[in-house]
Symmetry: C2
Subunit: 356 residues, 2 copies
């Protein structure tokens, strides 16, 4: 642990939502402190962090002050403005590093990167213009989905194309942003691997979880996932390959489709991941602590699972169920301290321990 | 949950050591915020609390401001000055209430209370003067132990009396403080029950843990404890009797000796307890969250244990073992963020998950 942060060191976290909140709690278990940076006032992570800076992403003075107060910088979301990263990166180590962010901030770069590793993704085509979209649809067929290459802060630009006649409207909907066309994948179910890589290159993966999404939002993650032993091995090995190729430091979420022809990589997220929340109940070291260990240069924890778990997100009006969930046996509540339970807003989650 | 604190409410915690720190983290899981009050600057709990007040116990203005900012007040240690409690109690609910504090702040009152419930304690005698000590030693015999009735902030006044000739020196050591003489109990091992009672009177107990003390400091707690089913039942029932008699609200630690003649109550602590730290790894709802639930008027969580655990305290130089412990499988680290690892100082603990 010679290059590791000493006890009492401070970790800067960009973004103060629920992921930053649970990262800060995990850091406290290791005797480390956290400083949260978020443009929004009263971020959920601020309730459990030693310090909070409320300032814009382009406030150079605030960013400099933030960097000066911390020993290492990490983040809870991947769409941090490039200029913000440029400045912070020049002042303190940012983990995971720029390579991972460059890949995951652009769907096209991500797909090229994954294909380059020999991994299977959905068929995809770059769509710089309307002509490319028509060619792409000819090659990939329908149904397909047109997405902006980069995510904005205000939601995702996505359009389903069920028939080539919808191509023009879909392209117009991208509003001039660079886009990518993705083919549909026929899958039996979705899984994810929460994987971690430390500064020395060691890799540790949690057991894959089985995910159910409803309207694009994760509803449940179930452990163990329905997988053959060889599928489970494949999932863990390919996650490790991705982390090593990126010289990654931290926790990554790798979403996979299980198909008749094998595993297909859906997307990667260079941060702790909603589908890894079950580790809080299932493992001695959860994904949040694992991430803190990695970015702090500590040894990774052993991610072995000692119990079966079902994680369920509490979204919007699900908060009405909190009184009943608070009384349920073997249910671990995690509420995020957010004010208003708007539809679609992630307000908390529960980890239900399943006895054998 | 009609009388319970709403999400976003604030809990005031007197004392910002490791217990306050872990209480604050637990509160965050329920969407509640914490305000720590501690005379010492930079308390460990302040790293994970929304707000910290650093002020003396007799600073009435600071206490009033603290009370005004919170919805309910609890504490991490029982020796809060009476005048402080008088003031706070007039401004906000203090839980657990005065009855529990009055009993546990005075060893004589505590023993009388326990005996009055029909529970077995070590033989004891009030020692108002040297004559009473001589009579007490005649009746109880040696070895015995002379203790101050009340705990000071600066360590415990205790003197072992192996032979009546040591009585005079022991009495002089009390320096005029009220004292109690306790006989020795021959026990095979020590256990504790972490019990909780909610505002509606519901009681929930965790499985008893088996404790090993070295030089008066808890070293390990092992789950399950070595107990017959009827001993286990006795332990849980007597803990419930204590909580009900005190109309208690919160978590209490009840320390018991296991003897050939049954269970003997050693002492009670009206707060979360070191011997309950194992619940962080063994139960969906740990003792810290259970305490927050109780004082916030929430329903108690189910305390069922889903795995065997050995908790070990990290005391003073044990911190040198942290690098090795960080690499060990199935070990959950909990460091308290304290600066200096002085001999005898509790710096952290580990929960080791034991696979069947």
């Amino acid at each position: 642990m010679s290059d590791s942060l000493p006890l009492g060191a401070c970790i800067g976290i960009l973004g103060g939502g629920q992921l930053g909140r649970m990262l800060s709690v995990a850091a406290s278990r290791l005797g480390l402190r956290c400083h949260i940076y978020d443009p929004a006032p009263n971020p959920p992570a601020g309730h459990v962090a030693e310090r909070v800076t409320t300032a814009a992403w382009d406030d150079a003075e605030a960013l400099r002050g933030f960097a000066a107060s911390v020993d290492v910088i990490t983040y809870e979301f991947e769409n941090i403005p490039t200029a913000t990263l440029d400045l912070l990166d020049s002042l303190r180590p940012v983990r995971p590093g720029r390579k991972a962010l460059a890949v995951s901030q652009d769907r096209m770069t991500e797909k090229d990167f994954l294909s380059g590793l020999g991994l299977t993704t959905a068929p995809y085509r770059d769509v710089p213009d309307a002509a490319a979209l028509r060619v792409g649809l000819d090659e990939i067929g329908t149904p397909a989905i047109l997405k902006t290459r980069r995510l904005g802060y205000d939601g995702k630009g996505q359009a389903r194309i069920m028939d080539p006649s919808q191509a023009e409207a879909a392209f117009a909907g991208m509003a001039g942003q660079e886009a990518i066309l993705e083919g549909f994948v026929e899958f039996t179910h979705e899984i994810s691997v929460i994987a971690a890589r430390g500064v020395t290159g060691e890799v540790a993966c949690y057991d894959p979880g089985e995910n159910v999404h409803v309207e694009g939002i994760l509803r449940t993650t179930t452990l163990p996932a329905t997988l053959t032993p060889s599928q489970q091995m494949d999932a863990v090995l390919l996650a490790g390959r991705i982390l090593n190729a990126l010289e990654y430091v931290g926790v990554m979420g790798v979403e996979l489709f299980v198909t008749a022809k094998g595993l297909v990589v859906n997307e990667i997220a260079p941060r702790v991941h909603n589908s890894g929340h079950w580790t809080q109940a299932g493992c001695a070291v959860d994904q949040f602590e694992q991430h803190i260990r990695a970015v702090a240069g500590w040894p990774l924890g052993n991610g072995a699972r000692h119990v079966d778990v079902v994680m369920e997100n509490l979204i919007g009006a699900d908060m009405d169920r909190v009184p009943a969930l608070a009384r349920a046996a073997d249910v671990q509540l995690h509420l995020y301290g957010k004010g208003e339970a708007r539809p679609g807003r992630k307000m908390g989650h529960v980890n239900r321990i399943v006895r054998g």
